[in-house]
Symmetry: C2
Subunit: 485 residues, 2 copies
């Protein structure tokens, strides 16, 4: 069902997961990653308060929060040189550092200190001593929330600046995807700590009833349609072909053979979910170098002449099969063997990050399946014993009428998007004011601009990053003019 797929989709917002759980060719190159990981970050622990908002005895518990500092390029506190803080998200610190290319790429130009903070309950920043302890039940998991994470960042940055005697150094929050949401919310809630925020591919409007539920899948569809009409039609028809086999006596067995599944299929939805996850991930990370949608459609369109619809689909997804040489549909399930990103984000979507992604009509290449908060809630209660709060994000962070709310409130936020990214449907795509601006590229994919620059980057991506750099330069210049005045 879509709710399940939807959860699956939400588990792919970070490249980290795509790297770990799929094996397509649309990964950023390994050599580039190695270079980043050896570029001068040192790791530290901060004794963090588990509960910033209450004063119960257990609210005072402390856990070790990891963060990393790269001071290789820093101009120092005396020069009021800036501090770029990546507001860590649903991945380990190492993984976030690898993705956060924009920071290290631009540090020399800005003479910036780089700080990357690991989000609570990811990586090694687990309360209660260990990941196992932290994840044991809702009593220990219950402190896992975005508001607590933001307060972590506020407290850590405040103390870090004091320790570095860097009180006058301007801090800029940066992040992509959920990290981008955190960056923009951090600027809105803690303007005394960060002078601006660069939020890449942050779907802060994909909550409550702000964005139409089929926003995400409409863009997946558009990406495929634009790449190849015949590919789009093949996929669109494939669901019904699968359904037909599902009704036949040996149909599941035949389907298992057609798709070379690593184990026999138990039902058709698990096949459809896995396929939808591949299409969605391909669209989300449809970057101009590896072009996964094009790769997929080349397979579908280029299959042997007499190939059936499902044989074409199988040919299309073959590059995603990886080392196993078979189609491992279980990779797309969230079970105990799933990545920490997948599991942690599952909790977050089940507590507060309720993004109603569905498909309430027949205008996408997917079968209609409306978002159903009842089923969603049931699933979360069964999996975690937690009841989602579907309206809390908009109550706490807003989103409705964002243009009129922020037009004369707040400043210094870049909302950047790539319009090939399905999550851009929940992003801010219009300038809100002179200083809360939207920068998008029609060809860009999820988080593309905040990822490491590569020699293969197209002109429009370079231009987007240059524009972002110019805006950040302006924030810093204005800040410095202001503290001198």
């Amino acid at each position: 069902m879509w709710d399940q797929i939807v959860l699956g989709l939400l588990l792919i917002p970070k490249l980290g997961l795509v790297r770990e759980s799929t094996h397509g060719k649309f990964l950023i190159s390994q050599s580039n990653l190695n270079e980043i990981s050896s570029s001068g970050y040192k790791f530290y622990n901060y004794s963090q308060t588990i509960d910033h908002f209450n004063y119960r005895p257990e609210s005072y518990d402390i856990f070790q929060q990891r963060y990393a500092i790269n001071d290789k390029y820093w101009g120092g506190a005396k020069n009021n040189s800036p501090i770029f803080v990546y507001t860590g998200d649903e991945a380990s610190l190492e993984s976030v550092i690898r993705s956060a290319g924009f920071l290290v790429d631009n540090a020399p130009h800005f003479q910036a200190l780089l700080v990357v903070i690991e989000h609570r309950y990811y990586g090694e920043s687990n309360p209660f001593g260990s990941r196992k302890q932290a994840y044991q039940n809702t009593s220990t998991l219950g402190y896992f929330s975005s508001t607590q994470a933001l307060a972590d960042y506020a407290q850590l940055i405040t103390e870090l600046k004091k320790n570095l005697s860097a009180n006058n150094c301007p801090v800029i929050a940066m992040g992509g995807s959920y990290g981008g949401m955190l960056a923009s919310w951090f600027r809105l809630k803690y303007p005394h700590i960060v002078i601006g925020a660069f939020a890449s591919s942050a779907p802060i409007l994909y909550f409550d009833d702000i964005t139409p539920e089929n926003g995400y899948l409409s863009i997946v569809t558009k990406d495929f349609q634009e790449t190849s009409k015949s590919c789009y039609r093949t996929i669109r028809e494939s669901w019904f072909e699968i359904d037909k086999f599902g009704l036949e006596i040996n149909g599941l067995s035949v389907l298992s053979q057609i798709f070379h599944t690593c184990r026999p299929l138990n039902n058709t939805p698990e096949l459809k979910d896995a396929l939808a996850s591949i299409y969605s991930a391909a669209a989300q990370y449809d970057d101009p170098t590896t072009q996964p949608v094009n790769l997929l459609c080349s397979g579908i369109d280029g299959a042997f002449d007499e190939a059936t619809i499902l044989e074409r689909v199988f040919t299309g997804i073959t590059p995603w099969n990886g080392k196993k040489q078979c189609f491992d549909i279980d990779v797309y399930n969230i079970d105990d063997s799933a990545s920490e990103t997948a599991i942690g984000w599952y909790w977050q979507t089940c507590s507060e990050m309720v993004m109603p992604i569905g498909c309430d009509s027949n205008d996408t290449m997917f079968q209609a399946q409306p978002f159903n908060i009842y089923n969603y809630t049931m699933d979360c209660q069964k999996k975690w014993g937690v009841t989602p709060r579907p309206h809390w994000m908009t109550t706490e962070f807003g989103g409705h009428n964002i243009k009129s709310v922020l037009r004369n409130f707040g400043s210094n936020i870049i909302f950047s998007n790539g319009l090939r990214d399905p999550y851009s449907s929940g992003g801010v795509l219009c300038n809100i004011s002179d200083t809360i601006v939207a920068i998008y590229t029609t060809q860009g994919s999820h988080c593309l601009d905040i990822l490491p620059a590569t020699p293969a980057d197209p002109e429009w991506l370079i231009a987007q990053r240059n524009e972002e750099v110019k805006i950040i330069e302006r924030w810093i210049a204005e800040y410095k003019a202001n503290i001198i005045a």
Copy 2:
């Protein structure tokens, strides 16, 4: 010791307490109060979430939060008529309604709906079923925080607007003293819920090291100095006279006689604390009609010719003795018989509202006694079993360099003050931007402008309120122009 006095002082920020615990003539007139209480508020309960920021099983507990609505003057949802919300503070709903005169006085002009929300842990808005249950230990008291209170308001207002089909009605937060802090923080943290905030006498800068610790007592001193130099000198010298008696064998007994104490004194600090509390309250509520500082100094200066310093002081404070016809120094202690305001605020100052009020030099009319966070913490641990977080308010809400932080961030806040109010030392007294403005009167006292208007109000107070009304009119006009556009 000062820490104790300081706690005492902080317990007087609301007129409610002054009304309950002292008996001077500086109360707003009773007839006026009766009029307000019968002016059309209806009381309701809202099922409020106890813990907005966590997802533990107990975070989902619900308590009944009281609020009051007055729709007598409302222009209705169809006209997008405004909603004035008083962000309730450290008193019962009834008490807050009585103080919140600005709302009802201006409702007809604005055709405003009035909403007053009771702060959690005050009045009848006690979690766990009753005040006794709520206050039993830190496990139940631990949800008593300003961030939870703001989230209560966010959730309640959002749902109320939905129920009233009043989504397009602009909401303005209003409050005085701690309620004024809440109003201004609410605008800063929840701009999607309120279009502006009127914060009367909100000492949001009296945290951490932002305001010099002797700010409060310096203004008490100035008020007395300006009223009568000889009165000021008498008080200034009185402490040493008390100390002298304290060193004598029968000194405490003599002091008890001089001051007509209701019970024999145990030590001199309890006498000095009670006197300091009276002077501070007199200065804080030195309104132009009742003029308590003048009343007190008339007693001191007008005592019989041969009166000693302490006899003069006694004559000065006699109007505060009330019905008991003796000086009840225990009124100024916070014990089990203290008002709910006194007890609740004591908890708040011991958890997060750590305002470092002290006297680190000899330039006030009080004896030097620096604020001592160690003693303060010890006292809180002993009284409540809670450890204060002295830096949390500035981490969460800012305050340092407020002018540069908010100069291009945020909008639509009125910070109003009366400079005779000792808390004005921690208030915002300069315009921060075109729309975050400071309005003060040199003769005003604590919360004077948000209290009910009376026929005796001087011109400068009327002018201050008119200016506030004009600014609020502008916010509403701009909001309406914006939603139509």
